[in-house]
């Protein structure tokens, strides 16, 4: 079995396991390439269906192109879409100028927390990968969060032989990471093989493209001429720049991502 097939089968197994174990299940769809790949894998797992709702956390600062793509794909694939916004914080004027740590934690983490609470979701799929960033490399496939939404990275349950942590207390949720062992290159090679339609912000225009999608004020394009999936794959094979170089929140301070993530950031 080749590498992409092995990854695909492993992810399908994880997705089916989550669906079996969590009745109140949702998928966080950031509109990026990773969560869109999970959406594709879910359709494979359930023979074309997506038997759970998708959640998009709209910070109000997303690229307009992402919203257009989101609404088009939701219609085309017939998915149940829930859009979550931390209205209270937005009304109070939360914005990156108030500090990136505060802004991410408020608009993204608390925005997610509100949706999970409102709908009572106990399991949520996320598209994080171990090669993205150091604290994500330490994640489990099934990763429990306590009632304060916190990630106890110092004391995670063991995970072996595809026996995952699927029980929880009444006030926790479990995050499920079907793409944890994929690399950025794997994702693009899979997108090419499966011909998955991806948001066009990833493709170069006027010598620039987004390598990772986020909010407009904190997400910068990289210099690149890669305008097709093939060209992106060639670019990734030679680049020495990390994927999240254009994500300002990662670089604001030492351990910023770990701190954000221990509070419940994706």
């Amino acid at each position: 079995m080749d590498h992409l097939n092995a990854l695909e089968n492993q992810s399908i197994y994880i997705i089916r396991e989550a669906f079996r174990k969590f009745r109140d299940l949702a998928m966080l769809w950031s509109i990026g390439k990773d969560s869109t790949t999970i959406l594709w894998l879910a359709r494979k797992a359930f023979f074309g269906r997506v038997p759970f709702p998708l959640v998009h956390i709209d910070t109000n600062y997303k690229h307009p192109g992402m919203i257009v793509y989101r609404d088009r794909m939701a219609r085309e694939w017939g998915v149940d879409l829930i859009v979550g916004r931390n209205e209270e914080a937005l009304c109070a004027g939360m914005e990156p100028a108030k500090g990136r740590f505060l802004c991410c934690n408020s608009l993204k983490t608390q925005g997610l927390q509100q949706v999970l609470e409102k709908h009572g979701f106990k399991g949520v799929f996320l598209g994080i990968r171990r090669d993205e960033e150091g604290s994500r490399a330490k994640e489990r496939v099934f990763s429990p969060r306590d009632r304060n939404f916190e990630w106890k990275y110092k004391d995670q349950p063991p995970e072996l032989w595809d026996q995952f942590h699927t029980s929880f207390g009444p006030e926790t949720h479990v995050r499920i990471h079907p793409l944890l062992s994929w690399t950025e290159l794997d994702v693009w090679e899979y997108i090419r093989r499966e011909k998955i339609s991806i948001c066009d912000l990833y493709f170069a225009r006027d010598g620039k493209r987004y390598r990772s999608l986020g909010c407009v004020p904190c997400n910068f394009p990289i210099a690149s001429g890669a305008a097709t999936v093939d060209e992106i794959i060639e670019e990734l094979k030679v680049t020495k720049t990390p994927e999240r170089a254009g994500r300002a929140q990662d670089h604001e301070a030492a351990y910023m991502m770990q701190k954000l993530r221990s509070l419940g950031y994706m």
Binding site: M1, D2, H3, N5, A6, N9, I12, Y13, R16, E17, F19, R20, R43, K44, A45, F46, F47, G48, R49, R130, D131, E133, G134, S135, A137, K138, R140, Y153, K154, Q156, P157, P158, E159, L160, W161, Q163, H165, S167, F168, S181, T183, T239, K240, T241, P242, A245, A254, Y255, Q258
Partner: protein
């Protein structure tokens, strides 16, 4: 395509023997370290007034860098000319053994790292033992920090001998033992001129010689039902082929239910008519017969289904903070099956570092112990022994919803109903009963066979006795033949409804000499 397939390697060993440094070195020497990551590490080290520390690459958590230790397992990626690698760093600290096991269980091969100055230590041995319990056969030993001992060959040979001896005792034969210095880059990517006495492969060459864990295509079919989808008036059994392969028309049977049918279709999305599915593939199966099968049922062929286990004897490692206790209830998860179990026997508790038997027949297994135990299942689970089929021969034990231990199945006892012949293995482990080595067959109504181990005979030879309670004359006949064939002494007596046999060393035959010479005429 196979040659280029990714290999997942885990790096294990005692704390401070240089795991994280080795990983940084592997990245650096293969040109796999992104410049920006390198600069980020450089910057962080400078800010903290330290020398450049490769370990920061894997030790990403603040606590890890502050204390210079790895807490949790991490994965990252590098590439040689031959293929891509996923590298799993596993913590060397004793408290983080569950993270080490999480890392090692996902690997195809292991590097066991030993400090050339310190030699084999507690976690070196414990990790090696765990590797053997996880069934990881591809191991390379890297003897590190030889720069600290002047690259002396004699020191390397001492450690090589010590580690080979220990690995041998847990059934591991290392593919290579390579002398290295991760910090200085000796024998990692290129042969070191500082150790001209070493003629073997570099560490990267050794890794390139390993192969990814192959799917178990050669073993009999095992398809655990993961879920049942009833859509479009069709009942689809979703799951992954764990071993063997299946195609439409195959005559199949299920364990533990004993039901059987014929495969109608093997399906994937947009491919409702796959010609077959092989080990590793996630598919949907439909059957010719309307059966109601649940998650946990395992499909095999009519000729070969897994046992319907009522009792599982296993080698187990315990990671729970609270001890595993005799006669307590736990949940066993084996493939997709799950059952409540009672821990019915703890044969012995073993120190996972020294391999010493700490205690025989204790009433508990402590955190980080390894033990040989038996669970009684409250409902049957489909299982194989680890030796027959590793995919169906391993399980985890959960306590209060949290996985707290794992084990490999040594022996399975099935429901006595059905035509299955029960094999009673007579081995040295039976000889540890405090009340005189008792084997109770008084509840065995079905056909039995005895399987004798050399250890059992050795113990009889040493003078121990074994009492066997019997139910049927057939059982007595089998035992009598066994005793006759292996020169054992045997005493028989009635015991209630059944019988009782004592096996012992064959008594030296003493011919009567003086008193009993018979009547003299």
């Amino acid at each position: 395509m196979n040659v280029a397939d990714t290999l997942r390697i885990v790096i294990v060993g005692h704390v401070d023997h240089g795991k994280s440094t080795l990983i940084g070195r592997l990245f650096y020497d293969t040109g796999s370290l992104p410049e920006e990551r390198y600069r980020e590490i450089e910057r962080t080290c400078r800010e903290q007034g330290r020398e450049f520390e490769f370990a920061y690459l894997m030790d990403a958590l603040e606590e890890e860098r502050e204390h210079n230790i790895t807490i949790d397992t991490a994965q990252t990626f590098f590439r040689t000319a031959k293929r891509p690698y996923i590298i799993i760093d596993a913590p060397g600290h004793k408290e983080f053994l569950k993270n080490m096991i999480t890392g090692a269980a996902a690997a195809d091969a292991a590097i066991l790292l030993v400090d050339g100055a310190e030699g084999v230590r507690e976690q070196t041995r414990r990790h090696a033992y765990i590797l053997s319990l996880l069934g990881l056969p591809q191991v390379v030993v890297a003897v590190n920090k030889l720069d600290l001992v002047g690259y002396r060959r004699i020191r390397f040979l001492e450690i090589e001998e010590e580690i080979r001896r220990f690995l041998g005792s847990v059934g591991i034969v290392p593919s290579y033992v390579v002398p290295i210095s991760a910090r200085e880059g000796d024998n990692i990517a290129a042969n070191s001129s500082r150790m001209p006495w070493y003629g073997g492969p570099t560490l990267l060459e050794a890794l390139d010689s390993f192969s990814p864990a192959r799917e178990a295509t050669g073993l009999p079919l095992r398809f655990p039902v993961q879920d049942v989808y009833v859509w479009d008036r069709k009942r689809v059994y979703a799951g992954r082929v764990e071993s063997g392969s299946v195609r439409p028309g195959a005559r199949v049977a299920f364990s533990p239910s004993g039901k059987s049918s014929v495969v109608r279709t093997v399906e994937k999305w947009n491919r409702p008519d796959c010609p077959q599915a092989a080990a590793g593939e996630c598919v949907g199966i439909t059957l010719e017969d309307e059966l109601f099968l649940e998650r946990g049922e395992v499909m095999g062929t009519r000729e070969n289904v897994p046992a319907s286990a009522r009792e599982v004897s296993a080698s187990l490692f315990w990671l729970g903070i609270a001890p595993l206790r005799l006669n307590q209830r736990y949940v066993m998860k084996l493939a997709t099956g799950e059952a409540e179990v009672t821990l019915s026997t703890i044969t012995e508790r073993i120190n996972s570092s020294t391999l010493e038997v700490i205690e025989r027949h204790p009433d508990r297994v402590e955190n980080l112990d390894v033990a040989n135990v038996t669970f009684t299942l409250h409902r049957p689970l489909a299982a194989d022994t680890f030796e027959e089929n590793p995919r169906l021969g391993r399980f985890v034990v959960a306590e209060d919803g949290f996985v707290a231990g794992g084990g490999i199945v040594r022996e399975v006892r099935s429901d006595p109903v059905g035509a299955r012949t029960r094999v009673i293995r007579l081995d040295a482990r039976l000889m540890t009963e405090p009340d005189g080595n008792l084997i109770d067959l008084s509840r065995e109504a079905g056909p039995i066979e005895f399987d004798l181990s050399p250890g059992f005979l050795d113990r009889l030879e040493a003078g121990e006795k074994v009492v066997i309670r019997l139910r049927t004359a057939d059982q007595f006949e089998k035992l009598a033949r066994l005793a006759f064939g292996h020169h054992m002494g045997l005493e028989f007596g009635r015991d209630g409804e059944g019988g009782k046999v004592v096996l012992c060393r064959e008594r030296p035959v003493r011919l009567p000499v003086a008193e009993e010479t018979g009547p003299v005429i």
